[in-house]
Each structure stands twice: as structure tokens, then as C-alpha cells.
Symmetry: C2
Subunit: 388 residues, 2 copies
């Protein structure tokens, strides 16, 4: 299998971007990534687009050649749209890696994009719910806040996780987001603010436990590792990856407090990389809700099961902690444009490993990991990146 | 790049299948393909699902793990949904090939499925139109029948193609469909019937020039060629493939009578296979409308530009002709469950090359080609298969 490196990264600002279309966002991120890699559209020979629901949000399907043509990709370029719910971006990165590993492409552009602020919030919730089991869950009232609320309640019951533990995730990630000029949410939070806020979304989750409805796009250029040397003093290699599945519906899960897909995808990625969780300096996890970050750092093997909450409250996952989690602000503060998220995690880890993350730089970061889930964990994609 | 073979194929009956859900169809086809390959779900290590609009037709996204879980795939299996409009199935096959070529999987299940008969026909037309350019075309009245009508009219103008030429495609494909027990349409047509029918859909295209609104699923198991030997006396190898893109909207095309994406994808596939169009015995092309088959056989290099109509009328593309086109009945008579079509083309060519196509068998077929397009040609995927 050929080794694959990140040759360039780019992204738009994340937020409620009323004056930007999906096409504007995707093209901006894609151009920035190609500029960063120092290449032109003519040098790209495969393109993967991660998007969840362009069909719903903007009535547009067949999005890969739609964006590809606008970027000036033309001719012998395969343009393929990947949809794996909130893991669409991570799966798109994976397909890009495979195209290079297979020898079918030497430079691949991957863009993740979602334009969500086109409809009222209840419609957004309905569109997102299509990533759950429509017949067996959504029709009887399932939404993602309710699903993660059940996970949180069960985690509290099994492990003694508290509201303070959840709040610590929000406070940390809002703090990190303040250091990220591209983050959607630029708002400091105190523990008291999170705990005192009375807007219950789905008990025990309250307003500040939830990620955001965000417009945005992120992009990477991938290439054979042998190409990377000419590009940067500090190239970043993808040293391991894994994508796993699990049962689809929440009611089918054996244990609501863990994602087996995360455990398995991490096992695959760590095995390929030949390293252990202790070797990782910086991590971007899928904190669609605060409880999801706690579950993620446990399932990925960074802390023992049940200790995610206390570790977060103790600062273990802060920018200066033992391993930094979500330095970008995560889905919670940076925002969660669904199809973009998995790609942006790779953008952030690349910047961290290059030492270009400015105010949110994790000092001396040499190895990083991304964790992207779809639905209530039916899909998980993990990538491990390293300098060199 | 590792060589890839088709280890097993399976499909449902195609038609208006009121009592089958998308899940029923996908599971049936997937199980049949695994049975045909003689393997169990535990032996599959990657799964690609081609589907166009499950989100619209059945309110279900995140379809790959949804189907994967129902098939008993669980754990270290990547389940990924590919959407490339009407080329979703062809692109899903391609990703399966790449996963094996990259060494990331040794046995891959690919299923294409679409459940379309859930809404009234005008809604179907609206959902399909999302594969065109919604902002710049659909909003001003663009639908796919109108797009292909413009191509037909221009082809008539440039090359003297006639209504009889178009009708010959319909008559041939209905005849082939009568020999395919799984085909949606089991109805013989005469030239007079096609020509006399007065139901204009989009002039010059009439009722019998158009493909069908079909429910169905098709599946293949792909594997390293080295695995194929134990499976069959007559294994089928994928000896070449190509996927190309083009401008997205119809108004951007230089010439309405050709698909540059077909020309380029075919060039890539023939180069990889090291053969020429003359070497191909049997072809499944994307005849969403009769004119599309004529354009396809020209753009693929089987006949000179402008001679697709006369060649069809002369029987060159009949079951016993120089090269057989759409022995399955094609989209026109077999039906066009959008996301399934590109996969089913590979199913049909595999059966033909194995000599298992019964009444529609092309005698002595040793090499076959599939041609799958998305939108008005913004995507084209070509695969070339051969015995051995």
C-alpha cells in the first residue's frame, strides 16, 4: 500500500454564512487547499466530496462533479460524492487515501461541505434525523439530541458521570474556539454559565451541551508520500486509518455508553500505525454533544472507560494537558457543518503537526488522531497522522 | 495495482414492487451475490452502496451501514454510500475495486439499490432533476426528458438521425427484455407501435423513448483475482476501468451530441485493458433515453460519430449482431432503479461472460463493457470485463 501524505489544507470560516452558497464554500476551501499545496486544478486526478444532505438543504444532488466543474477539474478526473451521515467527511478522506494507495491517482482533492442555514431549525432536525432509522426510530420521535441524552443518562448511571463533567467539555471547547478565528462560536463560557442555563434540549443535555448548525467547508490535498518532500519542510503523513460499522439503530446497541465502531476503527488505525494511544499528542473527536467527547476519549483508549468526565474536568484534555482534545473548538464551538467535519478534523491536525495552529497550537505535537462518527455510531472513521 | 475479479452476482426482480422496501431489495440482492460467491457476510471486509435518493424516496440517509447491519456485516467493515446521480452504481463498483487494489480489503460487497415507486411521478421527476443544476437549470424548467430531447434534436440536425433510428433502440431493447425474466418491462414492441404512439414526453422523445421508474437492487462480490480461481470455472476479471467528469450543466456543453466524459472514461478503460472497441463482444450502455444509447455507442468508439442510429436500425447491436448492446433490455426495458443501474450492468456482463445469460446469451462472449452516466453526462463510469 502506497504511503499517503497531506500536501495542502484549506477551509472557510465556519458560521451562519447567509451570503455564501454551498458552491461558494466548497470552491473557496478547495482553492485554498490547492494553493496551500502549491498545485493547480490540472494536477488533481481524483476528487471526493463529503456532503450529508445537499439534496435536502439546497435541492442539489450529484454534488461532486457540480463542485468539481466549478473548481476547473475537467476530463480524466473521477469526482465522487460520499455520504455517510456525520462521518461523510472522514469517509471521503478514506476513499482519497485508497485511490492513491491503489495507484489510481497521485494527487487527490477532498472537500467536505455543508450549507445548513437554508431552512428553519425544526427542518434541520428533521433532515439530520434521516441519519437515524426512519422507520423504527424517527417515526416514533427519535432525534439526535434525544439519542445522545439517553447515552448521557446511561453513562451517568453506569459511571457516575455528572453534569459538571459534561459542562467541562463545553467550557474547554468554547475556550479553544476563542483561539480559532474560523470557529463559529466565539463566546467564552464559565462552568456556572453552563450549569445555570435552564434551556433543556433533551434532559440531561442542555443548550451548551449541543453542537451548532453551521455552514462551512474544509479541504485537503492528499498525495503519495514521495510527492510530499518537495512541498513542505514539515509534511504530514497519514500513518493509520480505520473505518468500522456497528448496528444501525440505537435500540439494537448492547451498551449505550460506548461506540463499538469507535473501538474497532481505533484498533485498526493504531495497528496500522504501529503506535498506542499514549503516543498521541493531539486529538480531534466528534463532540456533537458533550457526552460524545467523553465517550470518544474512552472508546479511543485515551482514558479507561468511565473516566472521560473526570479526566476532562481535571484538565487532562486541555491545550496544555496530557493530550489535547479538540484544540479547534470541536463540533461544539468550531461548529458542525455535517459533511465538512471529518475533513476539517484532518485540516486541524495537519496544522497542529506543522506547528501552524497559532494561538491554539499544542506545543511539540508530533502525532495526532481524528475521530468522526455517523448517526448514533453506526459508522466511525479514525485517521492517525504524524510529522514526516 | 492488484487485479480484481467478480466473485459473485445477485439481483432482485426489477419492477414496480409495492410490497418490497429498499431494505428488502438491497438485502435480497446482497445475499444472492454472497451466495453466488459462496461466502458468508463475515468474509466481507468492505461494503459500498450505490444509491441516488433514498433521502427523498424513503426519508433514509446513511444507507450503507443501514443495509450493512441488516446483512449481518458488523465490526471491521467499512460501509460507505456513494452518490453520483445515475452513475452511483458504477462509482460504487469503482470504489470497491480501489479498496481491493489498495490492499485495504480482499472481498468487497457492492450493492446498488433504488426504491422509486413511493411517490407520484411528478415527485419522481423533481427528485431526479436534483441531478441537474438546480439553480441554473431546474428552476427554469429543466428536466431530464427535456435535456435528452434537446440532445436528440441536435443529433438529428447534425447527423440526420431519425425517429426510426431512435425507435430501433426501443424495439431492440424491449425484445431483449422479453428474454430477461427479471426485466421490468415484458412487452414486445414493433417499429410501428413506437412510431405511431402519440404521447409526446419531450419532442422528439415519445413514451417509448424513455426508461422506466423502477424498484430494484443488484449486487456483486469483488475480490482479488487470486481468490477467484477457487470459485468458478469461468471467473470474470475487471481488466480496465475509467471514471471521468465534464461540465455540469447542459448549457455549458460545447456539443450536445456527445458526452466528453464517456469519451474520456472509455479512453482510460481501454488503455488500462490494452484492448480496442473491436475486441468487445457485449456491452451494457446507459440508455436512459433511446438517444442516449445511440450517443453511447458512438462516444465509446464502437461506431463512428453520427452512425449510431443507422447501425442500430441495421441490427449491428442486436443479440446476434457484430456487438450486442443491452442484452439485458437496458434501462429502457429492464428498468432504471437509479442507484442500482451501474451495478446491474456489471451483473449482466458477468453472466454473459460466464455463459449464464440463458435466452439472452451472446454467443461466445469473451469481453464486455459497461457504461454508466450521471446527470447530463457530468459523470461517466466505464468498466471492461473479460473471462479469465
Amino acid at each position: 500500500m502506497k504511503k499517503v501524505s497531506v500536501l495542502g489544507v484549506g477551509k472557510t470560516k465556519y458560521g451562519v454564512l447567509k451570503d455564501k452558497t454551498l458552491l461558494d464554500l466548497a470552491v473557496e476551501a478547495g482553492k485554498k487547499a490547492m494553493d496551500d499545496a502549491g498545485i493547480t486544478p490540472e494536477e488533481i486526478d481524483a476528487f471526493y466530496l463529503g456532503n450529508y444532505a445537499g439534496s435536502d438543504f439546497i435541492n442539489q444532488n450529484h454534488l461532486a462533479p457540480y463542485v468539481g466543474a466549478a473548481l476547473g477539474l475537467r476530463g480524466n478526473v473521477s469526482c465522487t460524492h460520499i455520504e455517510n451521515a456525520c462521518a461523510s467527511g472522514g469517509s471521503a478522506i478514506r476513499e482519497g487515501i485508497l485511490a492513491i494507495s491503489a495507484g489510481a491517482a497521485s494527487r487527490v482533492l477532498v472537500i467536505g461541505v455543508e450549507k445548513m442555514n437554508t431552512v428553519p431549525t425544526p427542518k434541520v432536525t428533521e433532515f439530520l434525523a434521516k441519519a437515524g432509522d426512519w422507520e423504527r426510530e424517527v417515526k416514533v420521535g427519535y432525534t439526535f439530541p434525544s439519542a445522545f441524552a439517553m447515552m448521557a443518562r446511561r453513562h451517568m448511571h453506569q459511571y457516575g458521570t455528572t453534569r459538571e463533567h459534561l459542562a467541562a467539555v463545553a467550557v474547554k471547547n468554547h475556550g479553544n474556539g476563542l483561539r480559532n478565528p474560523d470557529a463559529h462560536m466565539q463566546k467564552p463560557l464559565t462552568m456556572d454559565q453552563v450549569l445555570d442555563d435552564t434551556r433543556i434540549i433533551a434532559d440531561p443535555l442542555r443548550l451548551y451541551d449541543c453542537s451548532l448548525i453551521t455552514d462551512g467547508a474544509s479541504a485537503v490535498v492528499l498525495g503519495e508520500k514521495s510527492l510530499a518532500k518537495g512541498f513542505y519542510k514539515r509534511p504530514v503523513e497519514i500513518i493509520g486509518f480505520g473505518q468500522a460499522n456497528d448496528c444501525f439503530a440505537l435500540y439494537q446497541k448492547e451498551d449505550l455508553t460506548r461506540f463499538d465502531s469507535t473501538i474497532e476503527a481505533a484498533r485498526m488505525a493504531f495497528t496500522m500505525a504501529g503506535i498506542n494511544p499514549e503516543d498521541v499528542d493531539v486529538v480531534e473527536v466528534h463532540d456533537c454533544f458533550t457526552i460524545a467527547e467523553i465517550m470518544a476519549i474512552e472508546d479511543l483508549g485515551f482514558v479507561p472507560k468511565g473516566e472521560g468526565g473526570p479526566a476532562t474536568l481535571d484538565g487532562v484534555t486541555s491545550l496544555s494537558g496530557k493530550f489535547a482534545v479538540n484544540p479547534s473548538g470541536g463540533l461544539k464551538a468550531k461548529g458542525h457543518p455535517v459533511g465538512a467535519t471529518g475533513v476539517d478534523q484532518v485540516v486541524e491536525i495537519t496544522l497542529q503537526l506543522r506547528g501552524e495552529a497559532r494561538e491554539r497550537q499544542v506545543k511539540g505535537a508530533e502525532t495526532g488522531l481524528t475521530h468522526n462518527i455517523g448517526g448514533s455510531g453506526a459508522t466511525c472513521v479514525v485517521h492517525i497522522l504524524a510529522r514526516g
